[in-house]
């Protein structure tokens, strides 16, 4: 019997404008495969401590998608962002040292190029790191294949990668019209709005 956590996927990736297309592709692929994306942006609760929120979401998710590709220096501070490798470490730590429910966690790691991670985070060598080359189609294909291979009971049949990519392209065609009807600008779309739109669009197209 599967549990709720089996279908929850922790998304650990950059949330900036540059990464927006890939982030959207990740959310789309996760939803269309029958899973639910979770990330620190799902609650706008300023009262809760960020690390506590992240720890709780990690605990509640069986699967984690981690993109450690953002190694460039920040243009303002001239320093790299360490959040993604840190959260990957928390996830791997939960898997290694957590209780029985945490041991079967599944980790999907992305970088832009093959073997590039060896130059800056060689400790994760031996894991299956996938590259996406900044291409939404590649990231969708890799996520689909990883989720399809995940040993989860009662998992629904997952569509092929080509089908999911073509659905994603149709979503991209429909999106500007939907936002116009909703009086929303693409840059003011919150995480909650974005996930609600993707989820409902997929449900509607399935029912047609």
């Amino acid at each position: 019997m599967s549990s709720k956590a089996d279908f929850d996927v922790f998304i650990n990736c950059p949330f900036d404008n540059e990464y927006k297309a890939l982030f959207e592709a990740i959310l789309f692929a996760v939803y269309l495969c029958g899973f639910r994306p979770r990330c620190s942006k799902e609650e706008d609760d300023g009262g809760s401590v960020r690390i506590e929120k992240i720890n709780r979401i990690i605990r509640e998710c069986r699967i984690g998608i981690h993109d450690i590709s953002r190694t460039e220096l920040d243009s303002t501070n001239n320093l790299p962002r360490f959040n993604m490798p840190f959260e990957l470490g928390l996830f791997l730590g939960a898997k290694e040292h957590g209780g029985r429910g945490q041991k079967n966690k599944i980790c999907i790691i992305f970088d832009t190029e093959d073997f590039r991670y060896q130059k800056y985070i060689s400790d994760i060598g031996g894991q299956d790191i996938k590259s996406h080359a900044g291409d939404p189609g590649i990231i969708i294909r890799n996520i689909r294949n990883a989720l399809n291979a995940a040993p989860i009971p009662e998992k629904p049949a997952i569509a092929g990668a080509a089908k999911i990519i073509s659905q994603y392209e149709l979503y991209q065609v429909d999106k500007p019209g939907m936002l116009e009807t909703l009086n929303l600008q693409p840059d003011e779309l919150t995480y909650a709005d974005e996930t609600a739109i993707i989820q409902r669009w997929i449900e509607t197209t399935i029912s047609l």
Partner: protein
């Protein structure tokens, strides 16, 4: 294959007996596969049909609400939603969102039909 469950709103004399009742219908079949008094009974019947279906062809159960709007898309084998609801609470009005989605899909399909027609016209000219 899909099975849909919806409330009948037919008010013609012929189908008066079905009015207000819940109907189960196969995607590929124009005929009704069952009529029930409540949505719960209809879902139960549709699930039973899909479990009897040994080649597992029935894999999507589409449930419409009494207002005719899409309620949920279910995996009949597990009775869980096929597309999991988002955890974050959106401020977007669901009625308005449904309207925006169907309008965008219609516009896309209309554009596609138009381009096919113009392509055919071009071919005829050549």
């Amino acid at each position: 294959m899909k099975i849909s469950i919806s409330k009948n709103k037919e008010s013609s004399d012929k189908k008066k007996s079905l009015e207000g009742k819940w109907q189960v219908r196969y995607e590929s079949d124009a005929n009704l596969n069952g009529v029930y008094l409540t949505q719960k009974e209809a879902i139960k019947a549709a699930r039973a049909t899909s479990s009897r279906n040994t080649d597992k062809k029935v894999n999507i159960l589409i449930v419409y609400g009494s207002d005719g709007r899409l309620q949920s898309v279910i995996n009949p084998a597990t009775n869980q939603r096929l597309i999991k609801p988002a955890k974050a609470k959106s401020s977007v009005n669901t009625n308005k969102l449904d309207m925006a989605i169907s309008k965008a899909i219609q516009t896309r399909k209309h554009k596609k039909e138009k381009s096919i027609v113009s392509e055919k016209a071009e071919c005829n000219v050549i």
